[in-house]
Point group: C2
Chain length 528, copies 2
């Protein structure tokens, strides 16, 4: 199927979009439009595109593009288990980790949806045993801390979700264990993380699908040595999350092993065992199940072919308009929620690793731009940092705001007539209008040109369900954009060359003399 | 003086640079070049530009541009107290917070260098009294934690420096107090930070130059209420860092006040009282003084007019070449040092808030691009996240690597023949070569085009001195770039409009109906 997918530049709807004039956002953004330009999402969220420079005629053409490229049909085929990861000839099944939307996906006689659900059940049972003290550390102490050892997709997503749910779990009285994350091969990372742990009370979760990730296995060794150094039996303090075919699977060096497979890519794995173990241990299974429910509901909404009723599809197409018609190379993610402090870092991986590609699914160079550069920090912090450039820089950066009516916690006060939450949201509303409309000033230095596009995802409160919907929204947005750009969003061949050269340098087999020279500058000695 | 500064597009050297062909990095990057293309920095650091697409003829033209625009002369005039912040008619004196390089700068009969030094001495004496228990909380408990309340420049720099020095301080046995940072007006930030503090043992440092920062004053109130709620005298638990003319100065609601002034911009204030109080409390004055010494030494090196011997000037000019000749809109900062995990966030503010401007110093619109978008995460974490796009995306992103021969801590192990530090640096060397040289492959999906420019700042270990040099290097680089672009790097008018609209919404005086509509969507009720 992907062989027959067209390139974006072959689309007649794209050609028509290119011929439309730029929409004046300053006039477009009225109160009526703010109320009307909304698409409901799962878990009570809404996607608001009022401050996007598109009118009905743009939306009609984007709808035409979606139909022409059969974007929802491609999603359905992905759900049905078609091998949409063409380069690696793999299925793409992360949606199945939160529920069944298509037919059963059978592989080697096994129902993979059932397999993922079974792993979740095993994990929930394991977490409950830990919580009630039936499973303990080797000294007999109950586990009170969990530490995930993993990198990239085994780190950023679960870490962002953990931080996002900590306060919500506390509100519900279910912060059961604190979590730490150890990722970097820099020994200072291990040093700092281990200093925060009471090892006798810590359960480590080693996450590596292949069981061969250099950073993760190295940190595992540091952790095992530290455990033994305290007289603890390291095997009682580690569990593995891996694939059934990896060297870690069913290995007696681990207390237990939980499984995913090659059909769940690292950056899409937060709702698989990769996120399930650490989040179920930290907050209990119920919160993780609520996250899954929110993600599943949002996955279901993404099946709607009408772009005006499918937030993820619409967001994807508006992003293509910004990237390939208006030519903006970056996009900023700006959550007005401190709980989402690392969510932009997760989206940065999700988006840039998925769609930072130059080759289409037929193996030909792309004649147009693909995935943008993604960055972001929470508001209002970012306002006091890089917003100067966003408002008055020479380049336009489209913005993705996220906000919630209520805080997660309950500590708030009226100060000068408004609560902190009021101030947070007043800032968010003000920024949306300031970016879109600007303000004329005779002093050029105080002139704001406006015309800077933004969308808003809003909700009542950042619950686990809302977080799941948010996560699935961006996963599906990125998937749809990959379909438009006719790229494989599910491999990451671009990380391979660095691994090869690193291995050569460590093994003393590097042939490139510049590589050797850099190694020497950085203090590397040839291996003995 | 600034009135007479030319625009970049008026430069004959710039015109000549535009006519040069693109340098083939794949051929350029030899072992000899890696060894030769280095400029020494302060504190034993080196700036290596081997993987930048410039040959001698480019450097000659960049030298010509530097001379034509009198970049070092402009720096000297800044040091001498000239009002280089033209829009606000202010001097720019952050260099004076770490030492005297030009003549004494007198203002209203006062020597400002002496004033900054005197504040440092007051802060050091205060920190020593806290450390020896002479100053205690209102319950009589010694202070063991410090919490900075500030946002933007009062947060990002000090926070990044604190994280960068924690392990180094531990190595030297001088982590004297732990530090937390409270910045966001989101009440969930205060909730989370307060949950980590033992209030009876916590000293809060309120940082606001104007004494009117909305987020900071709001959080101050939350903190005071929490202190009183525990029966503590809040006045005994707060000190202020502010300007002498602010409402916070000498106010009896604070235990003590320490001062900076309008000539030290927020994002350049880490070496002033803004960073001095929290860092001296956390680690003792000696580490902070080492940071100042490193910064001062790097400031001195930036006076060298020969770009081949002035790393900050060269880095600035290479950045202009990448931005205005090759047309790259972004740049990534990639420290291979977990201790620098938030240093990219600080540089993001430093760079984007300084040079994200569209108006020159004569108040005219710029006819060329100014400051780029800056983002970054530590390596090797980033490798497993967004490097896919950096290697194989459709856009080129120039890279700034940072690395050190040794880790800060001493926990490391040989695993499979190499230490963690070896692996970290082998990855760094490998990435430099992979980005520059790429690798041809018949499978287009596995093809690496290379030609992606990068520079490297390297050192022996991330000491306080090296960190100071690193900080000053980037401050001075950004200053020089502002001179080239003929912009005022020292104001931030672009943050004002959002503040005005926020104030209107909170006061119920908003006239823009779209603003009101967004406010309603976010749950804001009109004030009673």
């Amino acid at each position: 199927m992907p062989q027959s997918c067209p390139n974006l530049n072959e689309s007649r709807h794209y050609a028509d979009l290119l011929s439309l004039p730029f929409t004046d956002l300053r006039r477009l953004l009225t109160a009526a439009r703010v109320s009307a330009a909304e698409v409901p999402m799962a878990a009570g969220l809404h996607y608001n595109y009022a401050a996007m420079p598109v009118e009905e005629r743009h939306l009609d053409l984007l709808q035409g593009l979606s139909d022409e490229f059969d974007l929802v049909g491609q999603y359905q085929r992905l759900l049905a288990g078609e091998r949409m990861n063409v380069g690696e000839n793999r299925r793409v099944l992360h949606h199945l980790t939160r529920g069944q939307l298509g037919p059963a996906v059978m592989h080697d006689g096994r129902d993979l949806g059932a397999f993922y659900r079974e792993q979740h059940q095993r994990i929930f049972a394991f977490a409950e045993q830990v919580h009630r003290g039936a499973l303990r550390g080797s000294s007999g102490a109950a586990f009170t801390q969990v530490c995930q050892i993993g990198i990239g997709g085994s780190d950023l997503g679960p870490r962002a979700l953990y931080l996002a749910l900590q306060q919500e779990a506390r509100r519900q009285g279910c912060q059961l264990m604190t979590a730490e994350f150890l990722s970097n091969v820099d020994p200072d990372d291990a040093d700092q993380v281990l200093a925060r742990l009471d090892l006798a009370r810590t359960l480590f979760v080693l996450v590596s699908k292949s069981g061969t990730t250099q950073e993760t296995l190295t940190n595992e060794t540091l952790v095992r040595v530290a455990l033994r150094h305290q007289g603890l039996d390291d095997r009682a303090h580690l569990v593995a999350v891996t694939s059934e075919t990896s060297p870690l699977a069913g290995n007696s060096a681990y207390r237990d092993s939980f499984y995913m497979d090659d059909f769940v890519g690292g950056r899409f794995s937060s709702t698989s065992a990769v996120g399930a173990v650490v989040l179920s241990l930290a907050f209990g299974p119920a919160i993780f199940q609520a996250l899954l429910a929110g993600a599943h509901a949002q996955d279901a909404l993404a099946l709607q072919p009408d772009i005006r009723h499918n937030a993820s599809l619409l967001d994807a197409l508006l992003g293509v308009y910004l990237r390939n018609v208006l030519g903006y190379p970056c996009s900023a993610v700006l959550p007005y929620s401190q709980a989402l402090s690392r969510f932009p870092a997760h989206l940065q991986q999700l988006d840039m690793e998925s769609n930072g590609k130059s080759v289409n699914r037929r193996g030909e160079p792309l004649p147009y731009a693909s995935g943008p550069i993604i960055f972001g920090e929470p508001g209002t912090n970012g306002q006091h940092s890089f917003y100067q450039l966003l408002h008055q820089g020479t380049d336009v950066v489209p913005l993705q705001f996220i906000g919630f009516e209520q805080a997660q916690g309950q500590r708030d006060l009226l100060v000068q007539g408004s609560t902190s939450q009021d101030k947070l949201n007043a800032n968010l509303a003000a920024q949306l209008v300031a970016f879109a409309k600007g303000r004329a000033d005779e002093n050029a230095n105080r002139h704001f040109a406006g015309q800077r596009p933004a969308s808003l995802i809003r909700g009542a409160r950042l619950t686990a369900e809302a977080l799941g919907a948010l996560l699935a929204h961006f996963e599906n947005k990125i998937m749809f954009q990959g379909f438009v750009w006719n790229i494989n969003s599910f491999d990451q061949e671009g990380v391979q060359l660095g691994k090869v050269l690193t291995g050569q340098l460590l093994a003393g087999t590097a042939e490139d003399e510049a590589l050797q020279a850099y190694g020497r500058l950085l203090g590397l000695r040839p291996p003995a």
